[in-house]
């Protein structure tokens, strides 16, 4: 059974600081997704990582994937208040049609 673990689950960081969110998964997969969710809202797709070594960047966020280590990271550079949200990673297995399995999410709060 595919399991996805994120850490930390809660993160309070000051504006301007850097931090990394980690996503570990338990079985082989080369497809990983990062989503953002604002309170009471749906999931917004941030990144789709489709191969080992994939790195994608959008603004202050950068995501990477290491399929051998079964690890993805979401790096936040010079955080701003607008980045406050819950971030989820999600993985699907390599067995054809397998549903996405989500981590529990990292609730990020950026404070002045």
């Amino acid at each position: 059974e595919l399991k996805v673990e994120q850490n930390p689950l809660f993160l309070s960081m000051q504006e301007g600081k850097n931090y990394t969110i980690y996503c570990n998964y338990s079985t082989t997969s080369d497809r990983l997704y990062w989503y953002r969710q604002d309170p009471g809202k749906s999931l917004e797709s941030l990144f789709v990582l489709l191969s080992n070594g994939a790195v994608k960047q959008e603004g202050r966020l950068m995501a990477s994937l290491d399929t051998k280590a079964r690890l993805s990271t979401l790096h936040i550079t010079a955080a701003v208040h607008d980045l406050s949200a819950t971030y989820f990673c999600a993985v699907d297995g390599n067995l054809g049609n397998t549903p996405l399995v989500f981590g529990k999410g990292t609730r990020l709060s950026v404070i002045a």
Partner: protein, 113 residues
């Protein structure tokens, strides 16, 4: 283009009642998936439909059922509601069945009292 639309946005039901949630996928998308998100948790997979056929089912009781219509819209039905069914129900559509990114709707917030 319209995204994934879900209705209703909010719903309050009492224990034992039945509920039907509706979802219209992005135009051209043939696959619809349903997820349940309990407060403070990540979404959990309930069902996936493609071309009107069930293609995947998560670990949910038989009280949960769904179907997909010829226009690719979908309904999620939950019978004999329990307090623990209170959650945000998310519908997601994708272009094809495999290896296709999911696009989520805004969800239906179900409260069971």
């Amino acid at each position: 283009d319209a995204g994934v639309t879900q209705s209703p946005t909010h719903l309050i039901k009492t224990r034992g009642q039945h509920v039907t949630l509706r979802c219209s996928p992005i135009s051209g998308h043939k696959s619809v998936s349903w997820y349940q998100q309990v407060l403070g948790q990540g979404p959990q997979f309930i069902f996936q439909y493609y071309e009107k056929e069930e293609r995947g089912r998560g670990n949910f009781p038989d009280r949960f059922s769904a179907r997909q219509f010829p226009n690719y819209s979908s309904e999620l039905n939950v019978n004999a509601l329990l307090l623990g069914d209170s959650a945000l129900y998310l519908c997601a559509s994708s272009l094809i069945l495999y290896n296709s990114p999911l696009h989520f709707g805004n969800g239906t917030r179900l409260t069971v009292t």
